[in-house]
């Protein structure tokens, strides 16, 4: 589904990703772990199409298409979703209005009929109920005045509503207490399916107790330096990222 090959990315003149290669198949959950500054958020932003990231080398193909030439809204309509590490507060823009505009723009792009208000609200209530989120969320402005936990819940709710085929979660666990983290994990687990893939970017192993990944990758200094199954995350938790650095040094010698 997603093939990232030897990706090099510069941000403000500085090379952040230095030859990242990653293959994600439909139905798989990949965890990308790494220390601060390794390039984890850059990966998420590049996949979603944020401006300011200069791709100097390599390629990203998504369902056989060159993902990098698509606008962010085209990527969304094609099924790519990024749960933001820092969801943006947008005062004055109503959540319902925003999500209806998003959903119908996506449907239109895919040649599907747009939902009317009744159909849309029915769908919204269904998703809110499954995630145990109060429906006053929909009457508020997008993330405005939300607590950290509420913002992350809103990200998961948007993901549940928009039903992407490739969901990238950028440190969705950061700043969450254990209950909120479980809620996020429940939201993701409920959506796991053979047609859908997840890239879960995280700093800590803790989230992976709840979202059990098929593959774990360690991102250090702009490259995936180690890949394995879920046990790799546990080793990292035990030994820290320094352990990876030492192993690499040993390997080089």
């Amino acid at each position: 589904m997603l093939k990232i090959d030897n990706l090099h990315v510069r941000v403000a003149g500085k090379e952040i990703l230095k030859g990242l290669t990653l293959d994600v198949g439909a139905g798989e959950v990949h965890a990308v772990m790494g220390p601060n500054g390794a390039g984890k958020s850059t990966l998420g932003n590049v996949l979603a199409g944020r401006e300011g990231y200069e791709i100097t080398q390599g390629s990203v193909s998504y369902n056989g298409r060159n993902l990098l030439e698509l606008e962010p809204e085209q990527r969304a309509a094609e099924g790519v979703f990024l749960a933001f590490q820092y969801p943006v507060e947008i005062p004055g823009v109503n959540n319902t209005y925003f999500l209806k505009a998003a959903m119908n723009a996506q449907r239109k792009h895919r040649g599907e009929t747009e939902l009317d208000s009744m159909q849309f609200l029915k769908l919204v209530r269904e998703k809110l109920r499954v995630l145990h989120i109060s429906d006053d969320l929909m009457n508020r402005a997008v993330n405005a005045g939300f607590s950290g936990g509420e913002k992350k819940r809103n990200e998961i709710f948007q993901m549940a509503l928009l039903e992407p085929r490739l969901a990238v979660l950028d440190e969705t666990d950061s700043g969450l207490d254990i209950d909120a983290m479980k809620m996020v994990a429940d939201g993701v687990n409920a959506m796991r399916s053979p047609q859908r893939a997840f890239v879960v970017i995280t700093h800590y192993q803790r989230l992976l107790d709840y979202i059990v990944p098929d593959f774990v990758h360690v991102l250090v200094d702009g490259r995936i330096v180690e890949s394995g199954d879920k046990s790799l995350a546990l080793k990292l938790e035990e030994h820290g990222y320094a352990w990876i650095a030492e192993r690499r040094l040993a390997g080089a010698a």
């Binding site: 979603a48 199409g49 944020r50 401006e51 606008e71 962010p72 809204e73 990527r75 969304a76 309509a77 979703f81 990024l82 933001f84 969801p87 943006v88 947008i90 005062p91 004055g92 823009v93 209005y97 925003f98 999500l99 505009a101 998003a102 959903m103 723009a105 996506q106 792009h109 402005a141 948007q158 928009l162």
Partner: protein, 381 residues
């Protein structure tokens, strides 16, 4: 001629006039170089123009002025409440006296209609609110054509314990210029709320002067201007706290696209002895083009003790992170921009109680936002 318009629209000595008009001098000079004849107060209105103010909600409570003159033809005054007295003192001056509550708002419409050549009109409108609470909607509309310059002088007196809500919707074509001076006094425990929505026009200058001269008097101002092309709007608020325990709360948003020019000057003075005053002013502006310009000047002068005051003013650009957030959910860039600009403007209207007023503002905003305009042009083109 330049000196003449500055004399007419300026206050104070030569230096004060220059200072007060510093950002709009060129626009005023251009107006001054034109010859204006008297506008025709009996001009007939196109149906499409009438449709812009003929709201079902205000039928029977509507005063219409065509090029400054009261129009019996277009006014509709059948159901004006008993406590409201409308007097005309000559063609270009009217006095509105209100005593008692009026549940439904009064609608005062000023229509600028072009003639064969440039023309101007002048009107004086006084509003005295003796008791009770009343809402007034002042609406400025016009037809495109030869230049029109309108001048409206208002005096508003809000009596002890009375409450006025004045909503001014000004949506004018680029051939119309408008000068408004509103001198307001608010007496003891009186409350006055201004809501201003300014769209379009060649030059639109508003001098909103408010004197809180009774103990416990309150003033609130909410406003938005949305400009494009070569439109120019200049709003001066001058609020004076001259009695104890008076409050003012000012929240304005401005948007300028293309080569438009916006000016916001918010001056608050707390006079000696006006202890316990509470003054807040917030003005945020959005520039949508490198050729647009917005100048904002908050001025706070305090000569009393135990005063609470806060003010802030910013000029910025559309938040790229927010834009990306919306687009990452599938919202196309042009709609995302429109949503953000609309949201930015609506912040100023969030606290408005009247659902009707919020509804009108929403409709106006939706029609006048720069990107909705662009999309329409793209569709039309």
């Amino acid at each position: 001629m330049s000196a003449m318009l500055l004399d007419e629209f300026g206050v104070g000595d030569a230096r004060e006039r220059d200072e007060s008009w510093r950002y709009s001098k060129t626009a005023l000079r251009a107006l001054s170089q034109q010859d204006f004849s008297a506008a025709d107060a009996h001009a007939a209105l196109e149906e499409s123009l009438v449709a812009r103010f003929d709201w079902p909600l205000t039928r029977g409570r509507r005063l219409v002025f065509v090029n400054g003159g009261y129009s019996g033809t277009y006014s509709d005054t059948g159901s004006i409440a008993a406590g409201i007295d409308v007097r005309h003192e000559g063609g270009q001056r009217f006095v509105l006296t209100v005593a008692g509550d009026s549940a439904e708002p009064l609608h005062v419409v000023y229509v600028s209609v072009p003639g064969a050549a440039a023309a101007r009109w002048q009107t004086v409108a006084d509003l005295e609110l003796l008791t009770g609470r009343v809402g007034v909607i002042e609406q400025h509309v016009g037809a495109a054509g030869a230049d029109v310059l309108g001048t409206l002088h208002s005096r508003i007196a809000v009596g002890p314990g009375a409450g006025l809500r004045l909503t001014t919707l000004s949506d004018l074509p680029d051939s119309v210029s408008l000068y408004r001076r509103v001198n307001t006094t608010v007496a003891r425990s009186g409350a006055c709320q201004f809501v201003d929505a300014i769209f379009g026009s060649r030059l639109q200058r508003a001098d909103l002067n408010v004197d809180l001269n009774g103990e416990g008097a309150r003033f609130e101002s909410r406003g938005v201007f949305v400009l494009r092309g070569r439109q120019h709007a200049d709003t001066h608020l001058d609020i004076r706290h001259t009695a104890r325990d008076t409050t003012c709360d000012v929240l304005w948003r401005g948007v300028a696209d293309q080569r438009a020019r916006g000016v916001f000057h918010g001056a608050i003075t707390v006079a000696p002895g006006a202890d316990g005053a509470d003054a807040r002013l917030s003005n945020k502006n959005l520039l949508l083009s490198p050729h647009a310009e917005i100048d904002t000047q908050p001025v706070l002068e305090i000569y009393a003790d135990e005063v609470k005051a806060a003010h802030g003013a910013t000029v910025g650009q559309l938040d790229e992170t927010a834009l990306f957030y919306l687009r990452s959910r599938g919202v196309p860039a042009s709609i995302a921009r429109s949503l953000l600009i609309g949201g930015f403007c609506r912040e100023a209207f969030a606290g408005i109680e009247s659902a009707d007023v919020r509804g009108w503002l929403d409709t106006l905003l939706a029609e006048r936002l720069p990107d909705s305009h662009r999309e329409r042009e793209e569709v039309a083109g």
